[in-house]
């Protein structure tokens, strides 16, 4: 697959509030800050159907933690430069995927949403967070559209082991 594909920053405060950290990198442990970099998927369920979800995690952690028992995976890529696909799987077996076109046409003018550009900032030690929403919340096999993608490249996330 061609070099796929993505920086918005989330304040440390948000991460600390959001994270009941279960995995603390060596660097972070030394400073006393806790950064949750495991793959996490949170789904909002309605009638057994995920109507929306958020997924986050560090690519490096996902690789290091992958074991035979459970697969952790997270990432986004593009196959055509015009849309991006995102996929996440956490240690508990939850999975989430979404797709979004990189541009919209407004009054006949094509406007880029910048998703593909964000992919360019993505590297093997990045922390990413994306969100998806069900296209048809009444369909058990509904498809999902990505509604956001954040890419962070910060020293608080330990590099791959």
């Amino acid at each position: 697959m061609p070099a796929r594909h993505w920086s918005l920053r989330v304040s440390l405060a948000v991460l600390v509030v959001a994270g009941t950290a279960t995995m603390i990198s060596k660097d972070v442990a030394a400073t006393g800050r806790t950064i949750d970099s495991m793959v996490r998927i949170r789904k909002v369920m309605m009638n057994g159907i995920a109507v929306s979800f958020t997924a986050s995690g560090a690519l490096a952690s996902a690789r290091s933690d992958a074991s035979g028992a459970g697969l952790e995976e997270i990432g986004c890529w593009t196959v055509d430069g015009q849309s991006i696909n995102c996929l996440a799987a956490d240690a508990s077996g939850s999975q989430a995927a979404c797709i979004v076109a990189d541009s919209v046409t407004v009054n006949g003018v094509k406007v880029s949403l910048g998703y593909v550009m964000r992919l360019a900032a993505l590297n093997g030690d990045s922390f990413i967070r994306f969100a998806g929403v069900a296209d048809d919340p009444n369909d058990p096999l509904t498809s999902y559209s990505c509604t956001s993608l954040q890419v962070e490249n910060r020293s608080i996330y330990s590099p791959k082991q």
Binding site: L71, Q82, Q95, C98, I99, A101, L141, Y144, S145
Partner: protein
């Protein structure tokens, strides 16, 4: 005066020669990533069927392997944007609902075939006693 005129003209000529080179270099350095081709305007029916079948087979087996993902990613750009979006959307639904489960590795999804040999007594190969192992 004539000398300075020639000198100035010479400088202008140098500048005139250097300008296109500079513009060329800047254009190269500042080139934005080109949007990739939008893809074909018509679907190859065989390819469309193969890609649809790929999702169908995964749904039947309930497993999505790395190999499936590779094949899917290779075929999608060869389809029309409409088909590409439709199939990719379908894929997101199958994954998120866990109708298909991500395989940890290709081996995990497809274990190696088991040996189908029939056990034979020592020294007996296919009903014939091997003289080298007849005890």
């Amino acid at each position: 005066m004539l000398t300075s005129f020639i000198h100035a003209t010479g400088r202008h000529r140098s500048a005139a020669l250097a300008l296109p080179v500079l513009i060329g270099a800047l254009a190269g350095a500042c080139r934005l990533p080109e949007a990739q081709a939008p893809g074909p305007t018509r679907d190859d029916p065989a390819l469309l069927e193969q890609t649809t079948d790929l999702l169908g087979a995964a749904r039947a087996s309930k497993v999505w392997t790395h190999r499936d993902q590779e094949a899917f990613n290779e075929r999608l750009p060869l389809l029309t944007p409409e088909s590409r979006l439709r199939l990719a959307k379908q894929w997101t639904g199958l994954i998120t609902s866990k109708a298909i489960v991500l395989a940890g590795s290709p081996d995990q999804a497809a274990p190696p075939p088991k040996c189908t040999c029939v056990a034979a007594p020592c020294g007996n190969v296919g009903g014939v006693v091997d003289p080298a192992n007849k005890n």
